[in-house]
Subunit: 323 residues, 2 copies
């Protein structure tokens, strides 16, 4: 009686370089069952998919079997929505082009969609989060790097090649002082406004002053954005200044991004958002100062309200509802 | 027999601050009839619409009457696609919000769509020009200012408010050296890469060197981008350097724009494109140098092939085919 089966659940896979986390998710964004495998443990992707399907078995049983699953969404590094492939992902054990969607479709018998983690996060916010009901917004993920997912008319912008929405690599400092980026160029947004960018700013600011700061007790190369946050919480002026610098640059950049699709909102997600007002106050201030007058007051600057540890799985799962 | 009438034509209106040019256009982009009125001659927009409809009469008769017209498209300053209004256009005689689409719909009895001139240009390229068949591209208009029309999945990006796609006001110099812009801010792309930006660059370059140049025979404040082009054609190193500077900045900016929607092409239109290779060679070079490696070689950098004097009317008319 396939026709009368309610396909009320989707599978979300948050694929990281180290771990792969799977969730069975309902339409409200509740994770009904969860499981995980080590991504690194399977040098052959076919073994990975086999292990994943085995691990998923009991989780799928929780919701009554695969006939209750509408589809699967995967958030993966360099995931290409158009092809369903992971293409040349530097942080994964598999080299070259990996037809991950096809492999899971063959193994599970349900439609599978793939995209990168920032686009998955945008889908998650649109489906279950603060962007519900929004048709035009920009997701900014602030982790080790800066990712983005751009939504126009209710759809993720994948561009001509499936790799659109890389605002972390928009160059915000074109002078010769621009920070070297992992992409081989200089001055990219993510060299300033990621967790690693914050640590870099901390090292620069500590080196260029003699102001006392608890951050001086940490070896410069070991300072993390979390250390900066803890110091800011203690009222350390240097740490507060680091977030001000970061927030200002991010706010100014978002003002520039407005010229593309005048979003209803920017949604910020990821470790750095834990800095709260230390980051968001200067961000909002810089945004208001820099945005073109016709756009003033139009976009909300929001922080994701999704549970951090669940958000990536939820985001990936949101792709499973398509079609 | 309304049902059997072939609605094979659309009306395009290119509304400028001074003149309004109307064309009756077929599906191939041939202008079958043309007419014009002075925009400035009608302080009341109702009189303007009345005069326009009168002027259009004989042109519409050329194609067999209004029953052969599918719709009308208007390219107007601050034209808002969503509302059909012109909103607070500084260069027009009418103040505030003008319901231009509704007024023409009532007068002509056909659907009317409005947008700004850069979006209209993008529609024109997609419908009749070098972007035919493209689903993702960015139109850049290089006139007195720099306008843009962004196409994602075959549709113009209007954004949350109808005013998306203002890449001319993306700030490309965030330092204190950024050029003052008419928008009240500093460092906007259009202060460098418009016709007026080229004239500004010319004045700066001439003031900062003693190199002989035919441009020195013109009063600095009277130099135009056309003068610079003529000098470049004569082999003047300063003039060639001015276009190199302009092209490099524009190419670098387009490399940044790639991160939004990885377009299949950038299409350049407007007076400055007459500079040809003086502009386009450094533009292409800078684009290749600056674009993120995953985007390298993907986007074409094209110059509009539409007849300059007809392009604005064609672009506007393209909106008339919608629905």
């Amino acid at each position: 009686m396939e026709n009368t089966t309610l396909k009320d659940y989707v599978i979300g896979l948050d694929m990281g370089g180290t771990n792969s986390i799977f969730g069975i998710v309902d339409a409200r964004g509740t994770i009904k069952a969860q499981t995980a495998i080590k991504t690194t443990a399977y040098p052959d992707v076919k073994d990975y998919v086999k292990a994943a399907v085995e691990a998923l078995g009991p989780a799928i049983d929780v919701v009554g079997g695969i006939e209750h699953i509408k589809g699967m969404g995967i958030g993966a590094p360099n995931g290409n929505y158009y092809t369903g492939n992971i293409e040349y992902a530097a942080n994964l054990v598999w080299e070259g082009v990996v037809p991950i969607a096809r492999l899971f479709e063959e193994a599970l018998g349900v439609p599978v969609r793939v995209t990168n983690d920032a686009n998955a996060a945008a889908m998650g916010e649109m489906t279950y989060g603060v962007a519900r009901g929004m048709k035009n917004f920009i997701m900014i993920t602030l982790g080790t790097g800066v990712g983005s997912g751009i939504v126009v008319d209710g759809k993720i912008v994948y561009g001509s090649d499936g790799f659109a929405g890389e605002l972390g690599h928009l160059v915000i400092d074109h002078t010769s002082n621009g920070r070297k980026c992992g992409c081989g160029r200089s001055g990219c947004l993510e060299t300033y406004c990621s967790a690693t960018g914050v640590a870099r700013t901390a090292r620069e600011m500590l080196a260029s002053s003699t102001e006392p700061s608890p951050l001086r007790e940490i070896k410069p190369e070991e300072i993390t954005s979390y250390d900066v946050f803890k110091a800011a919480e203690q009222g350390d002026a240097t740490a507060i200044g680091i977030f001000e610098y970061t927030g200002r640059l991010l706010g100014r950049s978002c003002a520039d991004f407005c010229t593309f699709n005048t979003p209803e909102a920017f949604v910020f997600f990821g470790g750095l958002t834990k800095a709260g007002d230390f980051l968001m106050n200067p961000l909002r201030k810089a945004y208001d100062e820099h945005v073109l007058s016709i756009y003033k007051g139009k976009a909300k600057l929001l922080v994701s309200a999704l549970n951090g540890s669940e958000a990536a799985v939820l985001g990936a799962s949101a792709l499973g509802w398509e079609e």
